[in-house]
C-alpha cells in the first residue's frame, strides 16, 4: 500500500481531465474548460501541466520534465520528484528515452517520435486575452473566427519597431481554424509544433483550460506576406558544445558585462559534449 493514489489525483478527477483531453484532441486548438484542482504547488508552477501528466501517465511510462529547456532547475526537479513519489514512474533526462515529457516554455531540440507525448505548462491560454479582457467576448471571437484584432497587434509591432517584435508566445493558427497560444515558448520553437509526430497537450491550471494538437496537425504562425514569420535565436554558437542551430540562453558571468551563450536545452548540450563536440565546433 502506498500513501497516494496512482499519480496523486483521485480517479474521478482523472476521468474529468481525461474527457477534456479527448475533446481537446477532437477539436485541435480549441480551449476546453475543465475543473482544475488545487495541487500541492502554487498556481504558476505548472499545475495545469501536472494535472495533464497525472491523467496521462501509466505505470510503464518514463517521464522527463524540463523548465526552459533545463532538467535541473527547481521547477523541473520538484515535478519530477513529485511523480517519482506519487506514481512510482521511471524518470529520465534524456529526450529520446522519455515517453512523456512535461515542459515549461521550450520544445526539446531533438525531434520527437510518435511514441512520445509532450505536455506544456501554460500560464495564459487565451491568445486574445491581452487584447480583449472579457472571456465572453473572446469566446465569441473564437466562435466567429474573428481574429482581425490579433493581426492589428502584429501590425502595430511592425509600425512601431519595423518588424514583428513578439518573440515568445507567438500566436499560431491550427488547421486554419482556431488561433492558439503556443504557451510562452520562444518563437524559435513554433515551427516544431506543426506536423509533429508526438501528441501535444497544453494545460493551464489557474485558468482552467486544456487544449491539444494531435500528431501531424498543421500549425501556422500568424504573419503578413511582406513580413513573413521568422523564427529567431541569438546569433552565436553554444559556448559549451559549439552548436550553431540550437536555441541559446544568454548568461552574464561577471559584473563587467561579460557574457556567454549556452544551449537552453541541457540534455541536447550534454549529449553533444558526450559525443565529442566542443567549443572548437563554434569556429
Amino acid at each position: 500500500m502506498t500513501d497516494y493514489n496512482f499519480a496523486y489525483l483521485d480517479e474521478q478527477t482523472k476521468r474529468m481531465i481525461r474527457r477534456a483531453i479527448l475533446k481537446a484532441l477532437a477539436i485541435p486548438g480549441y480551449q476546453v474548460p475543465f475543473a482544475s484542482r488545487e495541487m500541492p504547488m502554487p498556481y504558476g508552477w505548472g499545475t495545469g501541466g501536472v494535472q495533464l501528466s497525472a491523467a496521462t501517465l501509466t505505470p510503464e511510462d518514463r517521464l522527463k520534465v524540463i523548465d526552459q529547456g533545463a532538467d535541473d532547475t527547481t521547477n523541473a526537479v520538484s515535478i519530477r520528484k513529485f511523480f517519482e513519489k506519487t506514481a512510482q514512474v521511471a524518470t529520465t533526462t534524456r529526450t529520446p528515452e522519455a515517453s512523456v515529457i512535461q515542459t515549461r516554455h521550450r520544445v526539446p531540440e531533438a525531434p520527437l517520435s510518435a511514441d512520445q507525448i509532450l505536455i506544456y505548462q501554460v500560464p495564459i491560454p487565451e491568445p486574445l486575452r491581452f487584447l480583449e479582457p472579457s472571456e465572453v467576448e473572446t469566446r465569441k471571437m473564437h466562435e466567429l473566427s474573428e481574429y482581425g484584432l490579433m493581426h492589428v497587434k502584429l501590425y502595430e509591432d511592425i509600425a512601431r519597431h519595423g518588424h514583428i517584435a513578439t518573440s515568445y508566445a507567438y500566436p499560431v493558427q491550427v488547421e486554419g481554424r482556431y488561433v492558439m497560444d503556443p504557451s510562452p515558448i520562444p518563437k524559435f520553437d513554433n515551427p516544431k509544433l506543426s506536423n509533429c509526430a508526438a501528441i501535444q497537450l497544453f494545460g493551464a491550471g489557474r485558468e482552467q483550460r486544456i487544449y491539444a494538437l494531435p500528431p501531424h496537425t498543421s500549425v501556422v504562425s500568424l504573419d503578413f506576406e511582406d513580413h513573413p514569420f521568422e523564427p529567431s535565436k541569438a546569433d552565436a554558437a553554444c559556448a559549451l558544445c559549439g552548436d550553431h542551430d540550437s536555441y541559446l540562453d544568454e548568461v552574464i558571468t561577471d559584473d563587467a558585462g561579460t557574457r556567454m551563450f549556452v544551449c537552453s536545452d541541457t540534455d541536447h548540450c550534454t549529449a553533444r559534449r558526450d559525443a565529442g563536440h566542443g567549443t572548437e565546433d563554434a569556429a
Binding site: 482523472k14 484532441l25 477532437a26 477539436i27 501509466t58 505505470p59 481554424r177 494531435p214
Partner: protein, 190 residues
C-alpha cells in the same frame, strides 16, 4: 442484482484505467489507428473494449444512453455498479452513447455542442463486428497523409465532419480493440 453485475470491473482501477485511457487517447489522437484495450469483462452484448472505455471515462457527471440490444438489465446494472453513471433514455442528454451503428441512428438526436462550446458534445461508442485498416479514406489532424478504416456509415460521418468545430466523436469497438473518428477527420469513399 446478479453476481455478474459485481464482476468484470477493473482489478486495479488506477492502473487499468490509466492504460485504458492511453489506448483511448492514442486512438483519438490518431484517427483510424486500431488500439488494444483491456481490463474489463462486461456482460454481453457490451464488448470488452466498450466496457473498458466506459469504465475509464464515465461517472456520475456523464449521462449514458444505451441503444437497442445494449439497453438491457445486465448492462444497465453493470454500468450502474461500476461507474455510477446515470442512464438516460433521451439522446439529447447523453454524454456517451453505446450500441450498434443501426441502433444508434439517427445521429441528429445527440448533442453536438454549441458554436461557443463545441466540446459539450456526445461521444458515441459504436460496436462493430471487425476493425480493419481498409475501406473509407481518412485524412486530417492526427493522420500523416491518409489512413483507412472500415466505417459503417461514411456518408453520415462526412456530414458530421461538415459540422466542425461542432459535431460528434466516435469510437468503434470490436472485441478488445478500438479505433476512433473525431469530428475533425475528413472521410472519403475508397
Amino acid at each position: 442484482m446478479s453476481q455478474t453485475t459485481l464482476e468484470g470491473g477493473f482489478a486495479n482501477a488506477p492502473h487499468d484505467a490509466a492504460r485504458a485511457f492511453r489506448a483511448c487517447m492514442t486512438a483519438m489522437a490518431r484517427p483510424g489507428r486500431i488500439e488494444a484495450i483491456g481490463g474489463a469483462t462486461p456482460p454481453a452484448p457490451l464488448s470488452p473494449a466498450a466496457g473498458a472505455l466506459l469504465l475509464t471515462l464515465c461517472d456520475a457527471d456523464t449521462p449514458v444512453y444505451l441503444a437497442g440490444a445494449h439497453d438491457r438489465d445486465a448492462v444497465r446494472q453493470w454500468l450502474a455498479f461500476h461507474t455510477g453513471a446515470p442512464l438516460t433514455g433521451n439522446r439529447a442528454d447523453a454524454a456517451f452513447a453505446a450500441g450498434t451503428w443501426a441502433a444508434l441512428q439517427p445521429l441528429a438526436g445527440y448533442p453536438v455542442g454549441t458554436a461557443r462550446y463545441p466540446d459539450r458534445s456526445a461521444t458515441l461508442v459504436v460496436e462493430v463486428d471487425t476493425l480493419t485498416a481498409s475501406g473509407a479514406r481518412l485524412s486530417g489532424p492526427g493522420i500523416d497523409g491518409h489512413a483507412a478504416l472500415n466505417l459503417p456509415g461514411p456518408a453520415a460521418l462526412r456530414a458530421n465532419n461538415a459540422l466542425f468545430p461542432q459535431g460528434l466523436d466516435f469510437y468503434f469497438t470490436a472485441g478488445d480493440r478500438l479505433a476512433a473518428l473525431p469530428r475533425s477527420t475528413r472521410v472519403e469513399d475508397a
